[in-house]
Each structure stands twice: as structure tokens, then as C-alpha cells.
Symmetry: C2
Amino acid sequence: MSRKVRACLIIIGNEILSGRTQDKNLSYLAQELNKIGVALTETRVIPDIAETIIETLNECRAKFDYVFTTGGIGPTHDDITSECVARAFGVALELNDQAHKLLQSHYENPEDLNAARLRMAHIPAGGELIDNPVSKAPGYRMENVYVMAGVPMIMQAMFQGIKHQLTGGRPMVSRSIGAYIAEGTIAGALGEVQKDFPDTDIGSYPFLREGRLGTTLVVRGEDPAQVDAAAARIVALVGSYGKEVIDESV
Amino acid sequence: MSRKVRACLIIIGNEILSGRTQDKNLSYLAQELNKIGVALTETRVIPDIAETIIETLNECRAKFDYVFTTGGIGPTHDDITSECVARAFGVALELNDQAHKLLQSHYENPEDLNAARLRMAHIPAGGELIDNPVSKAPGYRMENVYVMAGVPMIMQAMFQGIKHQLTGGRPMVSRSIGAYIAEGTIAGALGEVQKDFPDTDIGSYPFLREGRLGTTLVVRGEDPAQVDAAAARIVALVGSYGKEVIDESV
């Protein structure tokens, strides 16, 4: 097996932790990374507190191949991600010429590029800009850390611009099998399938649909042949309980 | 100001990190904790890997007043939360009489309480059960750690059963003010309001509605008088730019 390439997402923002805003970046990033063979291995949601951001950044960038951050790079006083990234890397936060020009080109009226908005052109020294096709104010990369916006539409556009820079392992493939069978009924035999296919991850997720209890069984792995073989065993297993597979997807 | 009571949520499950399932427990827990004066200060989403679960549990239970976990307490091989909690606390994972009886009462046919389902009656020694009115298999508390199910309906029912055990500080109150004003326009003056009300947290969240760009400004704090005063300043500020407040909520 190829070495697993592991990534961590750091979601920065009080609005997620207060429950006011539902995060949408985790599932998007997970699925996109998956396609290029990078596993999202951990996610942290942290508040707008400088010490917490700096500590979390330094711990995670040492621990994971890639770190992605979302949130806190806008123009307001609570946008403190960039000053924290600079402090975590021990570099200055400075006006970046290229970012400055991008913002100048975005505002027709020069007065609109006020001191607050100019904060968005301040980038930790050495940062390589990440294009923001939506509203110009860029993200940036510092070594293995990709600093992106929190607004999902902007975050997604930024990610599409940098994904070619990432080096993944073999992409994960998955097969999912749903049936009206209780997970406790199939659990023992399912554990045996997992033992027989140690290079796959088999997950079991109960659901309630039209008042009926069922389970979705998901096989994930790097080797499509192993994933298919494990999935075939699960389909046969469901049949052995006299149940039908109600949906199957790749 | 009263001491802040801080909580951490640990979401355990490959299905969240693969992007297959959208987490719904964070925002629910955040809002419920908020009502009783407990601040959700951090959330970690981690995979079904024993070492990661144990390390994260031990780090977070030392660091926060309360730790809540969701996920990984079902009957299948990938449900390893309870064995990890036992290892983190250095105690045995043992068949709990009370949990055993709960499950026995749930299954009419004794054969249905198979070895896999019996795993759900194994609780770390010393654990105090948390009622599961939906499907009987209980959660449990170990010191300041509350171990709950991942299925939102069950997690919510469990939380409602234990929230009276939690001791919070003063509940946070919040006011939110929306206007069709760009956050970069108001950012400088908003920073001044934040400086004048240091005991509140003022957040700024851009939105796009019917093609128009606006910002929601949120004031949070423990002292309703301070929150109201800061909100009044923000309403006046919006007016000073010739903009109307389009929605305001408590």
C-alpha cells in the first residue's frame, strides 16, 4: 500500500462554535481531497482567540501533511487568522504588493479601499497567494498550510485553484449498500468481513426511512478489487438474512 | 464577570471525516449549552482510530470543564468509543447490569440480544448511565466526560436527560442586526464599538440575499445591558451610513 497522505482542517470562527452558522466546508473539502488521494484525518473547530489559533496551527502543521484553514481573513476586527499565521511561523505580517494590486483593481472608487479592507492585503511574509475569483481578497499558502476564506462559495473557488498543487496517494474508492436490516442483526457477520478485508474500512450507519429501520454499509479502500470483493460479501450476507439490497452506489 | 464554563465536543466517526455524513450535533449542542451558560469552546472531529480517540479524550478532559463525545457506541466492529474511554480512564470495560437489563427489556426475543448488541451493555467501570429513550442502548458519564450516540435524534434525547447535571455560568445573550451594507465599509467603526464594549464579542458575517450583499452583525455577551448598549451603537452606525436595518433578532 502507498503511504497515506493525511490532512487536517482547522475551522476558525465563533459563529460555528456558537451554533449560529452550520459549517459546510468540512464535507466539501473531505470529498474533494478524497478524489485526489488525500485523507482528511482530523478537523478542529476553534474560536477567534489568538493563542488557540497559534497553538493549533503549530501542532497540526507538524502532525499532518497538509493543513487547511477556513475563516477569519476578512476586513473586520474579529478576523485575526493572518496575524496568527504570521506569529505561528515567526514572520512579519506585511502589505503584499500583489494582494494590494488585486484589491485596488476590485474597488473602482479608491476611497472604498479603506484601512479595514487593506487588512486583507496583509499577508505573512513568504506567503504564496491563493486566487479568489469571487471577491478578489486572496488566501495564501505558507509551507504546508493553506489559508482560505470561510464563506463556502469563496472557499470552494479557492480550493479549486490550488488542488493541482497537492500530491495525494491512491484515491479512496467506496461502495455503499443499503438494506432494511438492523445493524445489530448483521454486526457479528460484518465484523468477520472486516477481518477478511483488513485493507478496507467497513462502516455501518443505521437509518430510519418511512418508519422502517435500515442500515447503510459502506466499504472504503484504495484497492478497487478489494473494495468490490468486500462489497460482494456484504451483498451476499444481506441476502442470507432474507433481505433485499434496496440501494447500492459507488 | 463569572468564570466561563468551557466545553469541548469530540465527534468520533469516519463517516463525518469522509464527507459522507453532515454533522448536525455541533450546532445543536452549542445552542443548548449556550442556554445554560456553558460555552462550547472547541470541537474535534476524529476518525475511528483507538490511539487518536484515547489521546484526544485525555487531552480534552484535562483542558475543559465538560467533554461531550458523539458516535461509536453502536453494535458494530467500528464502534470502538467505549473501549477507548475505558483505556483513557484506565478502567475495565465490563458488562453493566443496568444496561444489560435495559437491552433485555428492549428485545422481545432473547435471541435478538446477540453478542454484537450485548457490546452496547459494556460500559467502562464507574460509568453512570445516560438514558436513551429512543432505542434503549445507553450513553454514560465518566467524571466530566459525557459519552453519547452519534445519531442526532438519540443524541438530542440523551442531552435533554443530562443537561440538569451541568453547572453553567451566566448564559450568553445575543443580538443580531442585518443590513445591506458591505462589511468592509462598516469594519473600522465596528472595531471601535468592540473596543468600547470589551465584555462583548462582536462578530461580522457577510451574506448574499437576492443578489444583494449584506452583513449580519452579532453581539454576544453575558451582560444583557452591555449587549443591548453595543447593539444600539451598531444600529445607529448602520443608520449613519444611510442604510436600514433589515432584520434584528434576539
